[in-house]
Symmetry: C2
Subunit: 343 residues, 2 copies
Amino acid sequence: MATSLMNHQIRLAARPTGLPTRANWQVTDEPVPALADGDVLIKVLVLSLDPAMRGWMNEGKSYIPPVGIGEVMRAGGIGVVIDSKNPAYQVGDHVTGTMGVQTHALVPASEMRRNGLAKIDAKAGSLTQWLNVLGMPGMTGYFGLMDVGQPKAGETLVVSGAAGAVGQTVGQLAKILGLRAVGIAGGKAKCDWVVDELGFDACIDYKAGPIKDALRQACPNGVDIYFDNVGGEILDTVLTRINRKARIVICGAISQYNNTTPVKGPSNYMSLLVNRARMEGIVVFDYADRYPQAIAEMAGYLRDGRMKSKEDVVDGIDTFPETLLKLFNGENFGKLVLKVADA
Amino acid sequence: MATSLMNHQIRLAARPTGLPTRANWQVTDEPVPALADGDVLIKVLVLSLDPAMRGWMNEGKSYIPPVGIGEVMRAGGIGVVIDSKNPAYQVGDHVTGTMGVQTHALVPASEMRRNGLAKIDAKAGSLTQWLNVLGMPGMTGYFGLMDVGQPKAGETLVVSGAAGAVGQTVGQLAKILGLRAVGIAGGKAKCDWVVDELGFDACIDYKAGPIKDALRQACPNGVDIYFDNVGGEILDTVLTRINRKARIVICGAISQYNNTTPVKGPSNYMSLLVNRARMEGIVVFDYADRYPQAIAEMAGYLRDGRMKSKEDVVDGIDTFPETLLKLFNGENFGKLVLKVADA
């Protein structure tokens, strides 16, 4: 029984303007309640920190409701079942789902579906890989590339945030499919890793200055697919290099999430007309029915070494407020993971 | 023989900044040369004035090369063959093609294809209808809606520039297909005409103030297809009302063509992500192979009264510099046509 356990939580105290600070968060400790029929109690092991979290902190309609003031901050993660009154889950099962930024997650039967709770096969990949290429970022990259990007061998793909969780998946998958893969990332270390370790054909360091000339050199045949995680000036520059019938996958716009001024729309969007090109959004949840087959495919690539992954693991739930900021200043190197407890 | 004929021409003298003025044009008169083998000489009757012309006056790569300084301004139009050394064309044939802003067009055999020269069936519609619903604007509306917009009965379509050449085609076609059609146009007279004569379900007067509230009222079920001819604030506002899996057809951005500041990109483009929506460009020339079947379909709608058309005909080639501006201040009511000569 887990009734004497304390749950340590980080809650949204106030909506941020610009970058979130400590003042936006509230730390609470409360006892884990007794389990009702159907409940599952999970000890949280690792949490996924994602750019989308910044959006969840804002008021207003989006693809999911915002986190309410006073609520535990939403976060996907992986944990281990430590108590269960639900026949579908046994103590010791590893599960993925919406854990929240807390040490313990109690999921009632009625919330299982909305939570996205699911058992994982801890042998298919490490726990951090289950948050990366086998998790939401991997699924986002997979379906964004496959369904929205519609890749064809011989084409050129460009992906921003190339060293990030989604970017590493997208570029490696493009290489497996026979495309030229060009990354955009911040700093020489990330760019070197993307080329040397992940096997991208080129990677452009956006911190070294405007990307225009480097993009032209890296994409001698133009750009057929641009997988955009960043928005802003980079999106605008890539729009000047797209080919006829190019596909631009809108996955994120991390450069704009902490704006205190209005979002910068892509001034060069009329390139879509000139090039009969398409810009289309992807939300991974739409593909939930197809996760199992995609995970199996990705696990195969991990096994045979055609896909690598990198996670940037920071230890300690109480570092959450500062760790989250690593995403927005580009400090994280690989998928950003917050370690909450030892497995 | 036509060798003593004089050709009266309007040439691009200088590239404009912002709205073109008289200083951007040069009027020339030159004798029509003797015909070589394969040549066709056409007396120009009517010319199509289109927003795209503003783009052709700019330097730089687009979907077709710019008009060169000193060249006769490019314009589509309709004329009658008055001399021919080409067996495919007889004196008296009515033809459509790239006439240029001039009284006479001499088309050599080698240029026929690039010119787009083709005979028209003057019984299928009036000459001005052949520049409107049966011409490039009609084809743009047809393929933009059908192929890019992918309309389904019961959906809601919004089209800007609703009283213009493309807009009137798109909205009427949407009604024929069983969609709710909502126009956006400038001024009460145009809006009334769009609803009362063309049968749109509603039309929003953008000159009456911000369209936000009116758009919400006119589209109680949101927007499934937005056919955009204008860009700017209107595009941004419609982006706030789109449904899941919406299609935004990028056909033009007339609000931005005379900018002396950078184009305003759509700040709300992340609505594409939230709604898994798509924004895609249309260039009519890609569909040239399918014009005949589309023209036949549209001619049928004209015949049976399901489609109406309105042209705004201005008389006199020398009015061209001022007449063109009617497009950019929204003065034209219906497809803008320049009459060059009597049929």
